[in-house]
Subunit: 235 residues, 2 copies
DNA sequence: GCTACGGCTTAACAAAAGTCAATTACTCGC
DNA sequence: GCGAGTAATTGACTTTTGTTAAGCCGTAGC
């Protein structure tokens, strides 16, 4: 841990942002940052969990491998998000594999450091709870999406998450490969293409890794419709 | 909190089981148990979160209502499981609605009680972390299932969770309505029926709310196959 | 500038799941 | 035991998605 930019990122990360400055610094000073190349594995399903990871830069995917080799993406994280909290405290092994999808820098916080500090400082426990709850919330949302939304609606939601504006139009850069986006959204790359095509009628234009959204409000409306409603519109 | 059976259940609940007996008792003495009739709403999406709930008896479903009225089941809990931890500490409102699907008794633990105790006793924070992680883990598994398994496979998994044996054959009772099972598994009731039919070729027989599994090992194998593999078998 | 490669899109087909409606099977109250 | 009301199944049909393979396009290397 040396770089100023990293320090700033780390302080604003969900895991640490709610801690007093001094406590966060204490943790940072005892944690190492590590770089991973695109495609590199950070840890494997089944590895013993020792660290909590905070993304300083780049994108990381978490996924599960079924016994037969199929892969299910469980999360894709970027700057400021942490992962691994869920297992580092239980002395068990990771239930997922983590891989860098771009060149990435991570902050590695030893789980034992946090458990030790937690005994004296309850705020630390609260901070970890906070970031875990956030993760939980995210998963609840994901389950809801998978169950109640069509593929095209999930793509719409994905795009809306990436653009910060509330309404009007905007252009965004797709942060990683389309095949990974497909995985993240629980569909095949071919289906993602079709979904993009469908969104064109709603004023969404994809060119390479750029997405132009004509009317954010309209897209949000589409995303929130019932499963059965979207196609009724076409009549 | 009066009944001995309840006390035993509460002590073995994930939330409290890792706490020292004295601490758990302290919490129990300050918590109330409350009965809910089948169909009764426990709390609504948007309500201010004040309690953490531990199921003493019966079944509870958590679900989200979309603005247009569609419902997505996010979890179904029974004896020993707790819910609501995720929000009770953040002074925010519940992101889901909870409803009793059978006659149910719940233990209501005031969130403020736990936050207060947490300041002095870090073990409490650890206990809450544990049960939250468990919930998190469960959701990760659910996301994986939704993404990587077909409907029939998810039904197989659901049945396998209900039977405690590791192999051989067994008979189980479906714990709640088939329409709720369908919701829990992210499919329509009609699709669930068809999935049951498909499992018949694997030695599963459904009669009313009873399910007879001929060969648990065989069913587990089917559940774990790739999405693409199951139908190849039919050749 | 050409070629080889990987990622993306498209198309054609098959399977799975949703939708709707009709029927049948239960359950509960009388 | 009968009838009303709910839940579950079935069937016909449509839509969505997966699957596979072919072709396209941009990039990197020569």
């Amino acid at each position: 841990m040396a770089d100023n930019i990293d320090t700033a990122t780390a302080h604003s990360a969900v895991l640490l942002s709610s801690l007093p400055r001094a406590v966060a610094d204490h943790i940072l000073q005892r944690s190492a940052s590590k770089a991973f190349k695109r495609g590199e594995t950070i840890f494997c399903q089944g590895d013993e969990a020792q660290h909590i990871y905070v993304v300083l830069d780049g994108w990381v995917k978490l996924f599960r491998i079924t016994p037969t080799g199929a892969e299910a993406v469980v999360g894709v994280f970027t700057k400021g998000r942490s992962f691994g909290e869920a297992v580092a405290f239980e002395n068990i092994s990771y239930p997922v594999t983590a891989e860098a999808v771009t060149d990435t820098r991570l902050l590695l916080v030893r789980a034992s450091l946090l458990t030790t500090m937690m005994r004296d400082q309850p705020e630390i426990a609260m901070a970890i709870l906070s970031s875990t709850f956030r993760h939980l919330h995210f998963l609840v949302t994901q389950v809801e999406q998978l169950k109640a939304h069509t593929g095209a609606q999930r793509v719409a939601e994905f795009l809306l998450e990436l653009c910060d504006a509330e309404s009007g139009s905007c252009t965004i850069i797709l942060p990683y490969d389309k095949s990974l986006i497909a995985g993240r959204l629980g569909m095949q790359p071919a289906s993602l293409s079709r979904a993009f095509n469908r969104l064109e009628t709603l004023g969404v234009k994809i060119t390479q890794n750029q997405a132009m959204i004509g009317d954010i409000g309209q897209l949000r409306e589409y995303m929130m419709e019932d499963r059965s409603a979207p196609w009724k519109k076409a009549d």
